[in-house]
Subunit: 225 residues, 2 copies
């Protein structure tokens, strides 16, 4: 995983002076920790193991972080940076097509598919973080949702979507975000019946409504008796 520079670099203090070294060593630490955390979870991973996997001594680990929690925070930030980077990158492809929103959903869901272990990790361990950092991680979640809010707003403004009020837009954006996550934490089951492309298709229909005929809509069903 590429370690995109993030807020975390400033937040987490290090004993080491050389900035470039901090960056590189933390990259090693993050990569090692991500692997172990995904495999065994945060609590069952020891700082010794992280150091060994990163190829450094336990002592040195503590020159680059002040606590095991720091490692988790670095990991969460790195994952978010990666997701954000990939989503931003993918969304460039999406713009321009007939259905901008469908394209965005598609690219985002593909990112969720590829990063599912990572997304799941953040979900499960966020609570472990000290409050100060938990907030940061949650803010990151919002930032991603914000991308969809903005897109929906624009589409509603230009008339590409029916008029939607702020609340509706907000919620639909959250829904899209979370339905992407759903693929990560229900994959153990959904994977039996869906490939990611099926999932994208049916979910897009669900979110946008089938283009031919309404989706589950009261007025498209039989009249009430």
């Amino acid at each position: 995983m590429k370690n995109h520079k993030s807020q975390a670099t400033k937040d987490v203090p290090s004993q080491v002076k050389n900035q470039d070294l901090i960056y590189r060593r933390r990259m090693q630490i993050i990569d090692a920790a991500v692997k172990l955390f995904i495999d065994k979870g945060f609590h069952k991973t020891t700082t010794r193991e992280i150091a060994r996997e990163a190829g450094i001594s336990t002592g040195l680990l503590y020159e680059y972080v002040a606590s095991k929690d720091d490692v988790l925070y670095l990991v969460c930030e790195a994952i978010h940076a990666e997701v954000e980077h990939r989503v931003a990158h993918a969304l460039k492809k999406a713009t321009g097509g007939r259905d901008v929103l469908a394209g965005m959903i598609r690219e985002y869901f593909l990112v969720c598919d590829r990063m599912s272990d990572h997304i799941l990790l953040v979900y499960q361990e966020t609570r472990t973080l000290p409050p100060r950092w938990r907030k940061r991680v949650l803010e990151n979640e919002l930032k991603l949702t914000g991308v969809f809010v903005k897109a929906l707003q624009e589409l509603a403004d230009t008339g590409d979507l029916p008029p939607l009020d702020k609340q509706e837009i907000e919620l639909i954006a959250h829904n899209i975000t979370v339905l992407g996550h759903m693929w990560t934490f229900r994959r153990w089951f959904l994977g039996r019946h869906f490939k990611i492309e099926d999932y994208i298709k049916v979910q897009t229909d669900f979110i946008l409504g089938k283009s031919t005929g309404g989706y589950i809509r009261a007025d498209s069903a039989k009249e009430e008796s």
Copy 2:
């Protein structure tokens, strides 16, 4: 929290013979553990604390469970039993109205609202469980989704909903389940803009489509240029 008898009673062995005593003591243990786990999380709670909170000695705790993991499993099972019980109970109210599905969603979301700490707990700690029990907990998740699958199937069969294939029904049921959960783990944010009743209303519109005019539907927006 009422401790509805569940699978767990048989799964988790006890040194104590008296069945009724097992039931009562485990109820104490579960109640204590739920409280502590919600407050501090599973890993930061010690067996000593659980015992103290339950009003028994640490030694006695280990007469009723074989490990700390056992406690977590008992807790997860109890929460599921409670959710299931409440949903089943709530759904009785829902049936009969004009829009059965909307009623079901409403009752289910209300349960999510009231049990949000508990649902969140299960989400976050399931991964900690040994595989054998993790599976059980995940099966429980499916059981709940199954309730919606069944309801959707019936409504599609009777023509109260437009025809939907198995895959679509399956996915919509999952969506409903997860959008209920979404209220539990994004509440910290959603709560700023929505009361539970707002949330129910907008989500129901989203899932069922607005009854007046389509929801976000390609064919209800302006024609493609």
